[in-house]
């Protein structure tokens, strides 16, 4: 939402209300999709790609006749990538814009801040960012991965092909970092591996000197990291390379685009994702082409966060059509059943509000490219929200 719109709405709202009350609705009102997203703050790097993929999905659906004969309309609100901003954004969308559904990629802090508002107002909410798992609300569905889905491919590959027995885990001290690595440790130990060390730096910390020295003296076979995005992740990778650490290295927090930008330093890193641009399916090829046709030079590279967002808009469409209404409870009931064949494959959010996903293990090449190593079909999200 921009200021102009807002300013226009304030005086017009009253008049509109009056007109609406007097005259029978001429055309059907559009269905409003609220997208709270971090246009400023930490997520401002990926937010534009997320907004684009939402716009693409909406444009495609509207071109094909909309949903239940109504057009879709996107309302974007900045959540500042944090709790405070998210509250404002959710409130504005839910109570001021009165959106029919919320579909968004956000930080965990922002999601947690928004959920009470969602619960109070009873608005369907599809969360489209990977996260540390086990966030449950009767009004929320998630179509991105959780640790259970992401960690396995990396660890399985390391213990299998690379023959690794000992691991070292490094992370940033925050919910996602801790959550990921705690699960990783369990998983490694289940598989008979040994974790030689698990070390954290404060959130935002960028001096990994002491931890890297510990890695070198422990001498593990492989390394798995889960840091905060941006600076902590980049500095860790650079400092590991500067220190000459060359063991297999799985980075749970890096996405394809960042890895590509990091250049030589990122070479050899393993990433595990539910989406990479290299996916060779007709749906993905069509999607990539549509992005290019729609946005031209402005098109942002599709990524792990923007693609689930795209698919979520379609999932909502399916749910609304199956329910035959945009009424919240009916949508929530329908969302568990519907599925959509998107760039990542067939997505259905039927596992305790989460989705079974195909996961891809890829390795960054010295030229910055990504090579698909293996794909893992139908990885289950595990027990996420057993009470729902």
């Amino acid at each position: 939402m921009n200021t102009k719109q807002l300013l226009r709405q304030i005086p017009i709202a009253g008049v509109m209300g009056l007109i609406a009350a007097l005259a029978p609705a001429q055309a059907e009102e559009p269905i409003k999709i609220g997208v709270p997203v971090g246009l400023s703050g930490a997520n401002s790097v990926v937010a534009p790609s997320v907004v684009q993929s939402t716009e693409l999905a909406v444009a495609e659906i509207n071109a094909a006749g909309g949903v239940l004969g109504r057009e879709l309309e996107v309302v974007v609100a900045d959540d500042g990538s944090g709790a405070q901003g998210a509250q404002k954004a959710f409130q504005s969308l839910v109570y001021q814009q009165e959106v029919d559904v919320l579909i968004s990629m956000e930080t965990s802090a922002a999601r947690n801040a928004g959920l009470p508002i969602v619960n109070r107002a009873g608005v369907p909410y599809i969360y489209t960012s990977f996260y540390e798992g086990r966030s449950c609300s009767p009004w929320m569905y998630v179509n991105a991965w959780v640790p259970e889905q992401q960690v396995a491919p990396v660890v399985d590959h390391f213990t299998g092909e690379e023959g690794a027995e000992t691991f070292f885990l490094i992370g940033s001290d925050y919910a996602f970092g801790r959550g990921m690595l705690e699960f990783t440790r369990q998983y490694i130990e289940e598989k008979g591996g040994e974790v030689l060390g698990e070390e954290y730096l404060p959130m935002g910390g960028t001096d990994w000197t002491a931890i890297i020295s510990k890695v070198k003296s422990a001498g593990p076979d492989a390394l798995v990291t889960s840091t905060a995005g941006g600076a902590p992740n980049v500095t860790l990778t650079k400092q590991l390379r500067a220190a000459g650490v060359e063991i297999p290295y799985g980075n749970l927090a890096v996405d394809e685009g960042t890895a590509r930008n990091m250049g030589e330093d990122a070479a050899g890193i393993y990433i595990s994702a539910s989406y990479i641009t290299k996916i060779d399916s007709p749906e993905n090829r069509r999607f990539m082409q549509a992005m290019e046709d729609h946005f031209g030079d402005e098109a942002k590279t599709p990524n792990e966060l923007s693609v689930p967002q795209y698919e979520a808009v379609y999932l909502y469409k399916e749910a609304a059509e199956q329910a035959g209404t945009t009424e919240a409870q009916a949508i929530i009931d329908a969302l568990a059943d519907v599925s959509y064949d998107g760039p990542r494959g067939t997505i259905r959010m039927d596992k305790q509000r989460h989705a079974t996903l195909t996961m891809y293990l890829a390795q960054v090449q010295p030229d910055g490219g990504i090579e698909l190593i293996r794909s893992f079909q139908n990885v289950d999200p595990g027990e996420q929200c057993p009470n729902l």
């Binding site: 960028t206 941006g230 500067a242 250049g263």
Partner: protein
């Protein structure tokens, strides 16, 4: 052995980063809270240099020059009116940091930028495989310390600066243009910060907020140092060393807070840091 190298190189990096802040505090009695922003300017200079396809080593002199020029401009516009209001100068330079950060964000975006590294990998050193670049920074820190000492003790500018440090009124009475000394000092401080920013890019990421943790640590170190070059070296060794020791033997999370907490405690006991009589 590894931990000793970690301590030494950490200290060298901290020293390199903090010198710019110290020079300005020493001569101008002013805390430059835009120090982190100048560091960031250096990082982005390195980014632009490598984007232009120039040799990555060129980033360091380029950053120093840009920092120097920027510092001299800023001194005249923002800092000069605040000579007599040191606490306000902290705030104004903090505001300057916000401005620089936002301008950089608008131009380059908020994302992390990647700078080509001039040299990477590890070498055998004292029977230990160790990062080449960190070893180079150890040498660079020592060189900067020596160069600054030489500048202060063997040049006309240094003589004037020392006169201003000791007694500004008297210095002015002796015909020293203290305004000019301040102008050059702020430029020098900003140039050093910016150069340090370019020097550490191979170890850190370049983004609009990259300077903040360095600002806080530098601020603490400079105050503990008692504002002198040898003092800063000792402070960097002490606190940087303590950070490595705590990170290694206790917890890296506590390690990340070591400098801040230790500095607050040290300054409570010895308010003038290492310059105590």
């Amino acid at each position: 052995m590894g931990i000793i190298l970690d301590m030494l190189t950490t200290a060298a990096i901290l020293f390199t980063v903090a010198t710019g802040l110290m020079i300005i505090l020493g001569v101008m009695k002013l805390i430059n809270f835009a120090h982190g922003a100048f560091l960031m300017v250096g990082g982005y200079t390195a980014y632009v240099v490598t984007q232009l396809g120039w040799n990555p080593w060129l980033a360091i002199p380029c950053a120093a020059i840009i920092g120097l020029l920027l510092g001299m401009v800023v001194e005249q516009i923002i800092v000069r009116p605040l000579y007599s209001r040191p606490l306000d100068a902290i705030l104004a330079t903090w505001g300057l940091g916000i401005i620089l950060g936002q301008v950089v964000t608008i131009v380059f975006g908020r994302e992390v930028q990647f700078v080509e590294t001039p040299i990477r990998g590890a070498v055998e050193f004292l029977g230990q495989s160790y990062s080449i670049y960190r070893l180079l920074l150890l040498g660079a820190g020592a060189a900067i310390g020596a160069a600054l000492t030489a500048l202060l003790y063997f040049t006309r500018f240094g003589l004037n600066a020392r006169a201003v440090i000791m007694n500004e009124e008297l210095a002015r009475g002796l015909g020293i243009d203290s305004t000019r000394v301040r102008l050059l000092t702020f430029g020098l401080g900003a140039g050093l910060a910016s150069m340090a920013g370019a020097m550490i890019t191979p170890l850190i990421s370049v983004d609009p907020t990259m300077g903040l943790p360095w600002l806080v640590n530098s601020f603490m170190l400079v105050l503990v140092s008692g504002v002198s070059i040898p003092g800063l070296m000792i402070a960097s060794l002490m606190l940087g060393g303590a950070q490595v020791v705590v990170s290694t033997y206790i917890s890296p999370i506590l390690g990340g807070l070591t400098i801040v907490v230790l500095a607050a405690v040290i300054l409570r006991i010895w308010p003038r840091g290492l310059a105590n009589d």
